[in-house]
Subunit: 204 residues, 2 copies
Amino acid sequence: MNMKRNGLLFIISAPSGAGKTSLFKKVIEKLGDIKASVSHTTRSPRPDERNGVDYHFIRQEEFQEKIKRGEFIEWAEVHGNLYGTSVENLKIIQDRGLDLILDIDIQGAEKIRKAYKDAICIFILPPSIEILEDRLKGRGSDSEKEIQKRLNRAKEEILHYKDYDYVIINADIDKAADELRSIIIAERCRVATAKNILSLVGGM
Amino acid sequence: MNMKRNGLLFIISAPSGAGKTSLFKKVIEKLGDIKASVSHTTRSPRPDERNGVDYHFIRQEEFQEKIKRGEFIEWAEVHGNLYGTSVENLKIIQDRGLDLILDIDIQGAEKIRKAYKDAICIFILPPSIEILEDRLKGRGSDSEKEIQKRLNRAKEEILHYKDYDYVIINADIDKAADELRSIIIAERCRVATAKNILSLVGGM
C-alpha cells in the first residue's frame, strides 16, 4: 500500500515590516520537517541575506530567460525588482511528499492559489501601523521615501487579510511562532490530509 | 467597540480506550484558557472520578426530570446508563466568550453539530485495535464481556472519523496533546474567528 501523501503547501504573506521573515525562519527551524521555498529575485541581497538560502539572487537577463522558458509559476515586479517562484520549487511537494512554506506577496499568493487550490494561506499582521512604521525604519537599509512607499503599500495590503485562511498578529514573536507552528501541525491532522489513517483504519 | 467574540466549541469524540480523557485533561491544563464541558450521567463514578469535575453524577429520576424540563441539548443511553449535555453548559460560549471543549460520543456529537454548525470536531484514534484492547483491559473496572462489548462498539465507531474535521492518532500522549493544543490555537487564528483583527485593521 502506498502510504505517501502529497506534501502540504503553506503560503505566507505579510506587508513588509510585519516581521514575517524572522517568524518564518524560527518556525522552520523549530519544526525541522518542513521546507522553505526559495524564490528568485533580481534585487541586491541585504547584508544578512545568503544566496540560495534567502533567495536565488540572479541577474535581470537570467530572470527574463527563465520567464521565456516558462520556469516560473508566478513572477512579479515589486519596487522595480523582479521576484519569481520556480515550478521546480513546488515539485518537491508531489515528488517527495514534503510540506513546503512559500513566503510570497499578496499578488503572488493569488496566482499560486489558482494553481494549488489546497494551499493553506496565512497572513501575518503587525500589531499596529505605528509599530509597522518603526520596524520599517529600524531596518535601516531603506530611504525615507522608500519607507513611505512601503508603508502606503502595506496599508493597502492589510485589507487583503480576508482572502487568507488564517491570520497571525505578530506582536510577540514567540507567540506568533507558536501560532504558525500550530497551524502547520493542525493542518496535518485534518481528516482530508491525514491519509495515513486510511491504512490504519483499514487494518482494524 | 465590542471586541468580545463568541467562544469556540470543540467537540472531541473517540472510541473508549483511545485515551481521550487523559489527553483532554492534559491539554486543558496546558492551555489554561479553555473550559471543559461537564456532562451529566446516571452511571456510578469510577474511583478516580470527582462529581462536578468529571461528570455531574445524578440519579435516574433527576435525569428524567431534566429531560422533561428540556435542560439537555442532547442525551443518550449508553451501556444502560444515561448521559446528557445541559444547555446551561454551552451558554458560557455566548455569554462569556470562552472556548469550550465537549467530550462526547459520536451520536451526541452528531446532535450537537446540528445545533452548533461552527463546532470544530476532533476524532481521537488509537494506534491499533490491539492497543485499544490492551487499554480497555488495563482499565480494570470492566468485565471481559463488557470489554468485548466496548471493543465491538469501538470498531464500528472508528469508521465515523470521516464526519470530523480533524483526526489525532493517540500513539504517544505528548505528541497527541501537542496536536490537540495546536488545533485549538490554529482555530483561534482562523480569519472567520479572529474577530479582534477587525478592530485592529479598522484602526489602520
